[in-house]
Symmetry: C2
Amino acid sequence: MTKSATQTPKTGPAARGAAGEALRLDNQLCFALYAASGLVTRAYRPLLEPLGLTYPQYLVMMALWERAPRTVKELGQALDLDSGTLTPLLKRLETAGFVVRRRDSVDERRVQIELTEAGHALRDRAAEVPAALACQLHLPLDEIVGLRATLQDLARKLR
Amino acid sequence: MTKSATQTPKTGPAARGAAGEALRLDNQLCFALYAASGLVTRAYRPLLEPLGLTYPQYLVMMALWERAPRTVKELGQALDLDSGTLTPLLKRLETAGFVVRRRDSVDERRVQIELTEAGHALRDRAAEVPAALACQLHLPLDEIVGLRATLQDLARKLR
DNA sequence: GTTTATTTGATTGTGTACAATTTAATTGGA
DNA sequence: TCCAATTAAATTGTACACAATCAAATAAAC
């Protein structure tokens, strides 16, 4: 029965039934994605800590360094995050002195996020981060580019 | 200066300096990974909700369906999660009736996580989930296999 | 112009995540 | 034996992440 098969694990996957094979952790693309994403986030932590940023905050700052001011909605679309995540995160960035939140004068429902001088200045210090992390990946550049393109394609199909 | 260059965005990346190019969101492997991981987790949600599982809980259950009982530490190593994450998650799985937490009689520091009958039974219902999700990815099988292998290789290098 | 629907953020509640600390149990050595 | 070092979970505090809901502002319909 199912119970004894689980409690008395065989050494190889072939010893299990077809249902068990499909549910093996190592066969899951989703788990490979989940684990790799978590590990990469952890690799960024020591690089971002001296800047006073968490990893999601770093993503928001990158979005703003590209174009600012932007509304909360625009940031959410760029990063695939909703207001329930962004609102407290942006308030922390405001407390840290990197951004200012300001109601749009044309449409009072919108909140424009703009960079402060400190927020702009942080960009120069952050400029070294991508190269520093790339070193830790030990992946050839073409593999990085290929992997990135595959993931962007996957994301496009799921959106 | 930096401020006006950021506040007056150019249309193409070539209009920006070298530092800005390295910090563009679309150039980040980490963001592609982060976004794809979040989107895949979201895609699982409607499939797992009828089973009464969240996505991380589904990962823990897969680990346990492979081998049980396992200690909290063993689960943490298999999933790259620490006790601060696993302890409350496992308590929720226990409340839901899928697992039982039991102190190891040999080493009282360890907590063995074992499956209940309901936990075992859930495996049959979960067996359809991987195929259901694979449909939504719209990716050929060899691409899925290749992407998974690349991500596992990346994770191995970061661990 | 008043009603209705939509849009935009904020809020609330639940559930991860992890660093740092604490507690209890075990192990190793003097 | 006894005690210092180590180990395993749990706890605490901070920070995402999202569903569901709410309130205010705007837009659309008539």
